[in-house]
């Protein structure tokens, strides 16, 4: 699964730290998600979507192997 959290963050101009605080997780978690090392839970995905005011599908994209 791919995600464009980095892009969305740039658009909204917020740091990993700020996004982490907004969804109540550690900065490591945002970092791990951005670098594709961790797939967030449905709850966390929905929260991230809410921060960017976008549907989850616009932020997280399935890849062929998924």
């Amino acid at each position: 699964m791919k995600n464009n959290i980095k892009v969305e963050r740039a658009i909204k101009s917020i740091t990993q730290e700020e996004l982490a605080r907004a969804v109540d997780v550690s900065r490591q978690t945002i970092n791990a998600i951005e670098s594709g090392k961790y797939v967030p839970s449905t709850i966390l995905s929905l929260k991230i979507g809410r921060v960017f005011k976008k549907a989850v599908e616009e932020i997280f994209i399935l890849e062929s192997g998924d």
């Binding site: 740039a10 109540d24 490591q28 791990a32 967030p40």
Partner: protein, 157 residues
């Protein structure tokens, strides 16, 4: 993400402290040789085998230096590894579990190597060390990954 098996975050510092005390204590015992004589006390033994003689449920004389160090190390390690992080979340919970799995695997791989290459009294030493390796590997891996994930792009917008 509230895992009931985890201790409050403040136990973490206490854990590292206990762990350091145990390690320092052990280094002292190694470098200065032998156990501390004033720790020679009477203890209760469920089973004590010495020179082919077995004693059950009896009080015996024993030096408790190693016992104290071992208990300090284990409690310290458990506190350090099983306390909530400052911001405990799903990724960290996941990382803790995967580190546990990793530690058990690596531990037993090392034990297989030790079984093949160490014999007699040397193997006994390996077994003593092996009591602590799961904790050590777990703590090492968990904190290394946590550190690595926190380091990448710290100031990136």
């Amino acid at each position: 993400m509230h895992n009931k098996l985890l201790l409050p975050h403040r136990f973490k510092t206490a854990g590292w402290l206990l762990l350091s005390v145990a390690v320092l204590f052990q280094i002292l015992v190694w470098t200065r040789g032998g156990e501390l004589s004033w720790l020679n006390i009477k203890v209760f033994a469920i089973l004590d085998q010495d020179m082919g003689q077995s004693k059950y449920f009896s009080f015996i004389q024993n030096n408790v230096t190693e016992e104290i160090i071992g208990i300090l190390f284990i409690i310290g390690g458990l506190f350090a590894g099983f306390s909530r992080e400052k911001t405990e979340d799903e990724f960290i919970a996941n990382l803790r579990l995967s580190s546990m799995l990793w530690a058990v695997l690596v531990n037993y791989l090392l034990l297989i190597v030790a079984l093949i290459f160490f014999y007699d009294l040397s193997f006994f030493d390996v077994m003593v060390l092996n009591m602590f390796t799961i904790l050590i590997i777990f703590l090492g891996r968990f904190h290394y990954i946590l550190y690595r994930t926190s380091k990448a792009n710290p100031h990136e917008k």
